[in-house]
Every structure is written in C-alpha cells, then in structure tokens.
Symmetry: C2
Subunit: 426 residues, 2 copies
C-alpha cells in the first residue's frame, strides 16, 4: 500500500491516532473475512477497496475536488445521491462504524446514545476520518432524536446542512419532504456552483439505479437453496456501495454476480447442509461493523438477506421517471421513491417494514429473523414490540438483539444466537 501520510496531513488529520486505527483494521479484516472458505474470487476487488478505504479512494476524491468537483457526506439513505451526482458531486458515507471513534464522540454527546452517532461525531472530533476531512458539506437529516440534535453539535465543527424530515407518511408529511428536497437542491446548487438539468439528473438517476439493480441481482443469488456467497461477503459488498465510484462498483459487482450465478448453476455449496438461513432486520450496519454477521456465520447459520438501510431498503426500489419531462417532475419522482418506498422506523406508523420483513423472509427462504438494533436506537427498539407480534402471528421465529460496537458482549451474543439457531430445529 502506498504511503498516504502526506495526504492525510494535508487534510488536517491527527496522524498518530489515525495510525492506530490503520494498524487495527487489517488484522480485524483478516480474522473476519479471510478465514472464510470458498469466497468468490470477485471479492478480491472488495477486499482491496476496504484496504484502500482511507487511501486510494480519498486520493480519488481529492483529485475530484482539484478538478472543481465537490464531496458531499451523508449518514442516511434518505439523502438523494442522484441529485449530488447530477450536480457533479460525489456522495460518500461518513465514518460511523467503529468503537474506535466512540470515546471522542462521548466528549460532546451523552453516553446513552447510539454508537453510530457517537462514532460519527467522534470521527470528526478526533480528526481521524479522511472522508470527514475531505467533505465540502455534510448533509444530515432529522430521522431520529439523536441525529437531529447531534447536527447542532456537529454544526460547530463541520460544514453541516440538515435535511428536514416529517414523522408521518401523511400528505402533509410528503409536502414537507418535497419542500426539503427543493431546499436541498438549492443548497447543493449553491455549494457545487452547478444547476440541475433534466439530462444531467436523468443520467444520474440511471447511474444510481444501475447500482441498485446490481445489488438486487447479487441479492437474488442468495435466494438459491445453496447460497453462493456468505452474508459477510455480501455485507462487505453492500457497504462498499456507499464509498466507491458508482460505475466501477457496478462493473465489479456485476462480475461478482456472474460468478455467484455460475456457482448456483454448478450447485456449489459453501455452507454445509442443514445450515440455517437467517434474515437480519434493523439498524444500519456500516464499515467495519461485522460483529454479528461473523457470529451468526460461525454458529451454524448463514445470513441470506438484510432488511435494513445498508441492505434491501437501499436498493429494492427504483425512481419511477416515466412521464417526467421537467427537472421538477424528476425531483418529484425521486421524492416519491425515497418517501414512499423506504420504510424507516423514524416514521409512525411504519407497517411497511413489517410487511417487507415477512415478504423477504418468504422470498429468501429464511428459517428465522434476527432483529439487530444498535443500543439506544429508540425508534427501532420500540418498533420491535409490533414486529415481534407480527412475526409471531406469521409463525416466523424471531430473536431480538441489541448491541454496540464494543466486543465485550460477543460471548453473550454467541450464546443467544447459537440457542436461537438450535431452536430452529431439524
């Protein structure tokens, strides 16, 4: 790997602390991923992206900036990537997945807050996230109390814009969401210095939809009785979608999908017969948070689908641009895709999510559902009660887990997961 210290220094990073992070990641990655058997060869590319996630990709972003392009950071799939792309920007997911950043977050936030938010703010406070140091704007959103109020704190230390969201999927809620979308367009036009055009936005929609389509194609292969790819590897590929260049991602993910499809044809099994198939639903799982997938897949089960913001919610629906002939109509179509089709627990009621879980469990042949929520994520934790009842009425076994980024609970999680897998019988 090249030496990026000069680049990081130029970004105002805390090099000594960041070096500790860089030293910790490779052995963790090796232990989680490289110990798996029969990984698809197509995963080599995704291994490389993670290895270079603070290096080569940052270098590319800085080259983009040098050409006058802008970098927009986000923590949420309600922030419309199409619009950023259409304005010549690149959207990146910000650092938020490691315990490494939590203590710095706790300097300015309460401890009883979800680790994703604490890690996100902590990554900026500690100046150890090169994405945070590179962005021209962070687009936050009012999806939960923790984030909504954390943006007020972040606003003092990073260029922050907040996209307002409503609490219900009512007509008044959509009116507010559509207005927020218009306000965001205006803000991004100002930051990028570009104007949205019909052709530009149409092309950006098509680019992002290609990314969604290839993720859907990859996920389809997990429906096979003999799954051709582990949940861990699929999780990694999905996570990379939030960082990588869109076109390159599509090309590499397509190659991986072809390899998985070939495996299905040849009947290659990578998990032993009797391995239980699990659907994971809940809060987002971002790099390098691979903890629970690792435990599940070393406890006699395989994750076949993730109903969360880094899984199906991100890619299952497309922008319905048929009939749109103006920029405004395209923005309408984008707004409807995000508002109508993503079922986040930030909305009340949120029956669409339970419907999705039941449908996906059937489509992917899941033997059980794991509700995997980050600690202190109030919306998802309270929603569990309704979800549990719904799954019970459908006869689908359910295990609710709550965890953070620390490793202290791994033994306890393993015990509960093993017991759950065993209870699935056979």
């Amino acid at each position: 790997m090249a030496d990026y210290h000069k680049m990081w220094e130029g970004l105002g990073m805390d090099l000594a602390t960041h070096d500790q992070l860089c030293a910790a990641l490779p052995p963790a990655f090796e232990q989680v991923f490289l110990t798996q058997k029969d990984r698809p060869q197509g995963m080599d590319y995704f291994n490389m992206v993670i290895a270079e996630v603070h290096g080569l990709r940052i270098q590319e972003l800085l080259e983009h900036k040098a050409r006058g392009g802008k970098i927009i950071g986000s923590f949420c799939i309600y922030v419309p990537e199409e619009i950023v792309l259409a304005l010549g920007g690149i959207m990146v997911g910000l650092c938020a997945g490691s315990e490494f950043w939590v203590p710095a977050g706790e300097q300015v936030l309460p401890r009883s807050l979800c680790p994703l938010i604490k890690a996100g703010i902590g990554a900026k406070v500690s100046r150890t996230c090169p994405y945070f140091q590179s962005v021209d704007l962070v687009v936050g959103e009012n999806t939960c109390d923790g984030k909504k109020k954390a943006w007020e704190v972040l606003g003092d230390i990073a260029p922050t814009y907040v996209m307002d969201l409503p609490n219900t999927k009512s007509s008044a809620g959509f009116a507010l969401f559509r207005r927020s979308m218009a306000d965001l367009v205006a803000k991004l036009e100002e930051v990028t210095g570009n104007r949205l055009t019909f052709d530009g936005l149409l092309s950006a929609i098509e680019t992002v939809d290609r990314k969604r389509a290839v993720l859907q194609r990859l996920y389809e292969t997990r429906k096979a009785p003999k799954v051709p790819i582990s949940g861990l590897d699929m999780l990694l590929a999905s996570q990379v979608a939030f960082y990588d260049d869109a076109d390159r991602f599509v090309s590499q993910a397509t190659a991986l999908a072809e390899e998985c499809e070939e495996r299905i044809k040849t009947g290659k099994a990578i998990f032993p017969g009797g391995t239980k198939r699990l659907l994971v639903t809940g809060t987002p799982i971002v790099v390098p948070n691979w903890k629970v997938h690792k435990i599940i897949e070393t406890s006699g089960a395989v994750v076949v689908v993730e109903e969360n913001c880094t899984g199906t919610r991100y890619f299952e629906s497309r922008v319905d641009k048929s009939g749109a002939s103006t920029v405004e109509e395209l923005v309408d179509a984008i707004s409807h895709r995000y508002f109508d089709r993503i079922h986040c627990a930030c909305f009340t009621p949120n029956e669409g999510r339970a419907d999705d879980v039941v449908r996906l469990a059937s489509e992917y042949g899941a033997d059980g559902v794991v509700g995997l929520n980050l600690s202190f994520c109030t919306t998802y934790q309270v929603e569990n009660e309704k979800l549990r009842k719904r799954l019970q009425s459908e006869g689908i076994p359910f295990l609710a887990l709550e965890t953070d980024y620390a490793s202290g609970d791994e033994g306890q999680l393993r015990t509960r997961i093993e017991a759950f897998v065993e209870s699935l019988g056979r």
Copy 2:
C-alpha cells in the same frame, strides 16, 4: 377519605395492585411536603387535591362523563387544552411520574427509554391509573422518538390519537403543525359530538389563559429576594394545574398568590439568609416526581423557577386572539401560540430555550442553573452541550443531572447538588 373501591372496580382497575400504590403515596407525600416549615396556608387545598387525585377528581370526571362530557388524556403541553374545553371536554394529564408503573411499562417497551414514557404506558398496562381508565381518548404527539413509537404500542390497548408534529420551526413545519391542529379539531369534534363555535372557543381560550395568568402571578412572587414559597410547593401547585378543574384552580391559586404577596410585603423569609437560588431547566416533572426538588431544598438552596413543560413553558405565553373574528382565525392564533412560543428540545434548532434560560435566570435572580433531564431523554441530553456552552459564555454556573424515578441515586444526586451549591460561593 371516602372509599372509592367500587368506582375503581367499575373502571376495570387492578384493585390489589392499585391499593399498594395508594398505600405508598401518603407517607411519601408527608415526608416530602409536610416536613417543610412555614408553608403557606393556601397549600392546604393543593395537599387535598393530591390526596384525592385518584378519588374525588375521578368521581368528578365520571360525573362529567355521565352528563355526556368527554375526558381527553394527554402527556404534552403541545396538545391544546383550549380546544378540548371548547368542545365540552376535560383534559387531564395522564399518570407518568412514578417508578411504581415502570416495570409494567418495561413489559412492552425497551428498558433504555425515559421513565416518563415507561411509567405512562405501564400505568395503562397495569390498569392502576384511574385517569387512563376514564379517558375517552388519549391524544399523543410526535415530540420524541420514544413517545412517537410508544403510541403504536399504546394504540393496541387504549383509544389513542396521535397529533403529528414537525421537527423544525420552519414555514413548512408550521404548515404541518396547523394541519395537525385542524385534524385534531376534527377528531375531537367527532369524539365529543360537538362543533367548535367562535364564542365557545373564545371563552375556552380565556379560561385557560386565566390559569396561565395565575401561575405567572404565583411565579412572580418567587422573584422576591425573600422567596415566600418553596420550589416544592410551587411545583405541587403547577402539577395540580394539569388535573384540576380550571376555574377552581384559578380561584385557589389566586388565594395562594395573595398570601405569597402578603408575605413579601411583611418580609417573611422561609429560607435562611444565604440560601442559593436555582433555576431548574429540562424535562417535565410530573406527580409524584418530587425527588430532585426535595434534595435541592434540603441542600442549602431553593428552586426559584422551572424552565420546563410543567413550569414556565406551560404558562408564559398567551393566545393572541386580537383581530380574530372566525373559528379558523382563533385556531390560527392558538396554533401560533403553541408553535412559536414553546421551546421544546424536540425542535432543531431550539435556540429559544437557551435564550429563555438566560432571561429567566436574570429575572428570578438565580445563582445557578440545574439541567434536570430524565434518563434516556435524547433530545434534552444532546441539547445540554449547546446549553452548557451558552451558559458558560454568559458566566452562569451550570450543573447537568440525569435521573429516573428510582430512589437508588439519591445519595449521589445529593453529593453533586451539595457540591454545586457550595461552589456558588458567597
């Protein structure tokens, strides 16, 4: 006290468990309130109301129902009492202030949730709150993640309607709020069988404003160098405002205010010289949550003002009905009063609250500010960081406390409060 068991039985209550609650309250009340010295005689009425809070007042509500009136329960001061009253309803605050109800709440809600929500839902689950058993409708509101999602759970066991709220005080936010107000009017008209009239609504606005005015008058007396009433007693009187008949409350609170004004004239001191004056800001303090006020007022300080939803936020602003000549215009005026003037941490940004704290600290001559938040109340806890910075820049000492309804942390709270009071020096 009369025997109300027959009435409670008719309400479908769990009598045995409720008896335990009834047995626990009087000694707790006595220990907290009756051990105070030189209480105003006017407090006798408020003592009586608390003693009869599950008895006489419920009997009155049931008489109201027998006459065809409706009872509307609420947990939040954004729910407009004027409209309930104008439609011949009575609005009551629901049980939510005791540890007694928390375990039942935790049967259906996560433990990492604020005690107010857990107690509220637990009071219904355990059938030990006669208010919950009497209401024709609970009007919830989307002010925080916990409540927003808890209404979904409550909806299965109680008649629940949710008032949608936005997350920002923007023009789009107001449009949504105004729409929610119209929807609530329609719902309440349906439930009560009555229609809003101009004269009825005007009269209800005047009634509620009289209640607010007398609370303001009472609070004014706490600005005196020698405070005529303890923070505990004032807290009790404020809490009663959420349960009592409005006109009777105004009359009794007026008598208490006159007594306090007389004390100021005669220079009567109820706390020794050198007692520190504290402003308490944060989350609501509902019956029978008197814990921190008690500790403060037995640690060398007196609470002179509460900037919270059971304090100044409830009564400081009035409905500006000047110029309104239709029902719609009155509802506009009500909407603006609630939306523009109440500064809840559920909104982002919420600078108005910090402005209020600074202003009130000056008006009431506070030596320091106590930020008193219920555990797991994310919005207020995260907002503390901004508030702390603001108070620091104003040179106002600040102590942030986080607590629940259990008594386990009383020793620790006392240690921290005593140290804070001592630090305020001379």
